[in-house]
Amino acid sequence: MGMLDYVRGFKVTFERLFDERVTTEYPKEKRPKPERFHGRHVLNRHEDGMEKCIGCELCAGVCPAKCIYVRGSDNPVEDPVSPGERFGFVYEINYLRCIHCDMCVEACPTQAITESKLFEFSFTNRSDAIYTKSELVVDDEGKPRKQPWELWHEGDDLNTSGWMRATSSAGRVEYEGVVGWSGELGHGVRSPEVGQSATASSEEGA
């Protein structure tokens, strides 16, 4: 084996040496995440501040990981928590079990539960991993509440309810692009994403 072989071994190294760098300095630096990234959930509120969750347990029923615990209760007549008779009295998600499949988001009849892009948590105990209503319900600006163990980056708290807006609420093509949901605290009524049929052709080429 000659010297030349030794140099030849660095061929790939030299070839790539001046290419654009692909690694990132995580966690100091983060790459932008896709708009429909599945992170931890938020419980949204209506524009008037009322909670959207009505405690129907459909999310809990559909969850394949059985990590949601919901209990409904009669809405206090004087100071209702949500519109209607019933509200989500207990709401808990166990993030040691959640697989971020978003089935809960699809099941929710009121768009109460949606997912953010936040996924970096470092719990030091199990109970921190169980998010309750006080952690999940959005704040008065309609933004997720930052927990001490969560790592947030610029823009992570945006579009917390963005992904599902591409499709119509009834799931039918003729309603694509038609706003079929109620406004949201801090966000109001946002316009739908460009429909899937509009982007389908460009994605096919990719």
Binding site: I54, C56, A60, G61, R71, G84, E85, R86, T110
Partner: protein
């Protein structure tokens, strides 16, 4: 809807398949059996068909060509051709559903029925894909409370007439009706007249949508997070079959299970919502012992300390100075464990499951027993019972239903009962004169009518203010004058008949045999030697305790202070006894007086079996874990035995049942597989195949010759056993009983009224008071007197008065009530704040009260 006399089936063709069905069957049922489910809303097999929802329209061809007809209204006929899947049927099914949904709010996510809703399910299966209606839906105020327990959401109602029909036809409480017309038709109560029915919960269960919801369950869970197990309600001794449903270890709902022999799917509200008492925060979760430093205080402790204290209290007493009271609320297995514990470890026969408020155990066991079905199909039912509507509600439903058919109810009661309006003849009697009144009644034409047909006599304590001897004498009269009649004991506590069968009565051993020496050989082989001297019943034990002859009282789920009809006696007994050990689920008045309190499991926290008033054994389901460190009664008994240097030899519930099968002759061959095979349960004793009677039987106690038909079966079995094995002791004969003679009625005191004290459904006991939704329903703490009596006494209706007996004077509100006979005053036995027990002296045949203005 089946016709029992049918022999030949009717041939019909359903969806091309030819099947034979019972004549009289409705097409909807016949199709179901042929595997074709026809959607329906208004049809309910336990109520008359009304054909109002039109969802069940199918093509029926009786020779004139197919036409759409409501299958719930049309009985099958020979050669009928039914098509449940034709194009026309599909279109009409879609059409009806589309119409039903025009005004339906579709608030399934917040609707209790969502997930188990016939409207949801049938819309998915049979409905249109889309509605053409875009108009605003009709709106009503929602929900409105139509009673303390039931909410109505008129927007969801599909006007099926099930709830209203139930109230009218089944419950006999026609308090909800359709009102208005056309598009405005709605179910409503009359103003200021709520749906206060003891059976209101059934409407919630049968409503095919979520229009009716029950307050105790509302929003507590969704159907998919409930787990369920089948069980038997033990709130009273009717033994309705139920599904016990829980979520996350908490009981949330009971639903009636339809069994032919008992409840037909119905439940009373006390049973249905009784899970709240099991969930109560007041449940005892740890043992308590009386504090050394402060004798007024019970302090929480660990099991070891408490069991040691209980064992030493029991050890200090000898066989005749210990008494065991209670057990009527336990499963058969637990009752058996205590029965064996008392006899073999405590060496006492002082055991009684009844609290001086029941009937003589030997009488109940030796009378030929009727079933509920026997009563509901008899020609005559003679009621010598308390108010069945208040004490055994679903038995009341069954008898009320029977009275609408060809069964005649004949009542003999000191004051009217819930069934009085359905009787064909209701006779009164002055308290104390029951036997004489019955003698007169049965001696006449009524008796002749009853003797000529099939008669069932329902026996119980018509008033707790009278001595039980009066009932016994009356039963003797009934037996003498109605020799063919069978008897249904109307005893109230959940498993009181099971407890008696397990030997929790003095002189009675498991399996309805007498502890009088005749059964010694038999019981010795199973239990070892036990005292054969007849022990004391509850009243005698309390008297012994009051005079200092009893050292220790063991209360097993018993609250004598509330339930024994003589408060003064119980007070003296508790003062006279050295130690009280209580095994219970709640800190009742009596438990608070105990020296050692051992917490035990409640309904749905343990398995086993229970026995209803017919002698029907059915299984209990275990669904949740009890609070704290509660234990099953049988483990407590076994543990106490061990601490008293004995071994009960009981290791598991199935093991105990196997032992019961072997020891209790009446329960022989009643295997666990038989019990679990059928929701209907098993009636004991099981009929036996007749074998020729060997001669040995004649050697037995002369009493056996009096044995009636049901005992004869046991006798036959005895013969079988005796013939098969030479060495083994023969199966002893069943207990026997002979009626006491009629005694002269007590002389009438013209200045006094005779008290009639009866239990109400909702009373001060834990089943009501610890169930948050039911507690407020317990009321009527008033004394009811005929207005003419009040007039002659110069007392205003509604005023508070002094009621005086030889025992006590208590202050009560008095209400004028036309239905109460003259010379009588009627009150609830144990209502919040007042107790008739304070007035009653158990030694007196009747309770005479005097009323004075304050």
């Amino acid at each position: 809807m089946s016709n029992e006399t049918a022999s030949e089936g009717v041939m019909v063709t359903i969806n091309g398949m030819e099947i034979s069905v019972q004549p009289g069957d409705l097409v909807i049922d016949a199709a179901e059996r042929a595997g074709a489910h026809i959607p329906r809303f208004c049809y309910h097999p336990r109520m008359s068909s009304v054909g109002v929802c039109r969802q069940c329209l199918v093509d029926i061809d009786t020779g004139r060509g197919p036409g759409l007809q409501p299958s719930c209204m049309v009985p099958v006929s020979e050669g009928m051709v039914v098509d449940t899947e034709s194009e026309g049927v599909k279109r009409v099914q879609e059409g009806i559903l589309e119409l039903l949904l025009i005004n339906h709010p579709l608030d399934c996510p917040v609707c209790d029925k969502g997930g188990e809703c016939p409207l949801q399910d049938q819309t998915l299966t049979f409905g249109p894909v889309e509605s053409r209606f875009i108009e605003e839906k009709r709106h009503y105020e929602k929900p409105i409370a139509i009673s303390d327990l039931v909410y109505l959401d008129r927007e969801r109602c599909v006007l099926c007439d099930r709830c209203t029909r139930f109230a009218r036809e089944v419950a006999g409480d026609p308090l909800i009706h359709f009102m208005q017309r056309g598009n405005q038709t709605q179910v409503l109560t009359f103003p200021d007249d709520p749906f206060n029915s003891y059976f209101s919960g059934n409407t919630v269960q049968i409503c095919p949508v979520g229009a009716l919801t029950a307050k105790p369950y509302r929003f507590r869970a969704r159907p998919w997070d409930l787990s369920e197990v089948e069980s038997t309600c033990t709130t009273c001794s009717v033994g309705c079959r139920i599904n016990v449903q829980s979520s996350r270890g908490e009981l949330l709902r009971y639903q009636g299970v339809d069994i032919d022999s008992v409840n037909h799917g119905w439940l009373c509200d006390k049973g249905r919502f009784g899970f709240e008492a099991v969930n109560s925060d007041e449940r005892l979760g740890t043992p308590f012992v009386r504090s050394d430093s402060n004798p007024d205080e019970l302090v929480g402790t660990d099991w070891n300390t408490a069991l040691e204290a209980a064992a030493s209290a029991l050890k200090a007493a000898s066989g005749s100075s210990v008494g065991v009271i209670g057990g009527a609320r336990l499963s058969n297995e637990n009752a058996y464990a205590w029965s064996k514990f008392a006899r073999t470890v405590l060496s006492t026969d002082n055991v009684d499951a009844q609290l001086g408020d029941g009937l003589c155990a030997e009488m109940v066991m030796s009378l030929p027993r009727a079933t509920i079905d026997d009563a509901a199909t008899a020609d005559h039912v003679l009621l010598l019972a308390p108010d069945l509507k208040e004490e055994l509600p679903v038995l009341y439903l069954r008898l009320r239903g029977a009275s609408q058919g060809s069964t005649k109810l004949i009542e003999l009661a000191p004051a009217p009962t819930g069934l009085t309006r359905y009787t064909s003849a209701a006779h009164g009697y002055r308290p104390g004169e029951m036997g004489q009144a019955l003698d007169e009644l049965l001696g006449g034409a009524t008796g002749d009518a009853m003797r000529s047909g099939r008669t069932v006599v329902v026996i119980g304590r018509p008033s707790l203010a009278d001595s039980p001897g009066e009932v016994e004498a009356a039963v003797g009269v009934a037996q003498r004058l109605l020799p063919e009649a069978t008897f249904l004991p109307a005893l109230r506590r959940g498993n009181v008949l099971g407890a008696l069968d397990m030997g929790l009565a003095p002189g009675v051993l498991p399996g309805r045999i007498a502890n009088d020496g005749s059964s010694q050989a038999w019981i010795d082989t199973h239990w070892g030697s036990i005292p054969t001297e007849r022990g004391m019943d509850t009243i005698a034990m309390l008297e012994a305790a009051a005079s200092g002859r009893l050292h220790t009282l063991l209360l097993i789920g018993a609250d004598p202070l509330a339930d024994v009809p003589d408060r003064d006696l119980v007070e003296r007994a508790f003062a006279g006894v050295a130690k009280i050990v209580a095994v219970d689920t709640f800190a009742t008045a009596s438990v608070k007086r105990a020296d050692v309190v051992l917490p035990t499991t409640a309904f749905a926290e343990s398995g086993g079996t229970t026995t209803n008033l017919e002698g029907r054994i059915s299984t209990l389901g275990r669904m949740v874990t009890g609070p704290g460190t509660v234990r099953d009664d049988w483990t407590i008994a076994a543990e106490l035995a061990w601490r008293l240097d004995a071994d009960l030899g009981l290791e598991s519930l199935p093991g105990i049942w196997a032992e019961i099968e072997a020891v209790a002759p009446s329960h022989a061959r009643c295997s666990p597989s038989m019990l679990s095979a059928d929701s209907e349960g098993v009636l004991v004793p099981l009929p036996v195949v007749a074998v020729p009677e060997p001669d040995e039987i004649a050697d037995d106690d002369a009493d056996t010759s009096e044995a009636d038909t049901s005992e004869a079966e046991v006798d036959e079995e005895q013969a079988e056993g005796a013939a098969a094995v030479v060495e083994a002791p023969s199966v002893p004969a069943s207990v026997s009983w002979s009626a006491p003679a009629l005694v002269d009625p007590p002389a009438v005191d013209g200045y006094a009224l005779r008290l009639v004290a009866r239990r109400r459904l909702y009373d001060a006991a834990v089943h009501t008071s610890q169930a948050s939704s039911l507690a407020a329903l317990a009321d009527d703490s008033t004394l009811r007197v005929h207005p003419a009596e009040l007039g002659s006494l110069g007392v205003e209706s509604g005023s508070r008065i002094n009621v005086t007996t030889a025992r006590a004077t208590i202050v009560l509100q008095v209400t004028a009530d036309e239905s109460v006979p003259r010379g009588v005053a009627s009150m609830g036995f144990n209502q919040p704040g007042i107790s008739a027990a304070e007035l009653i002296d158990h030694r007196e045949p009747v309770t005479e009260i005097r009323i004075e203005t304050r």
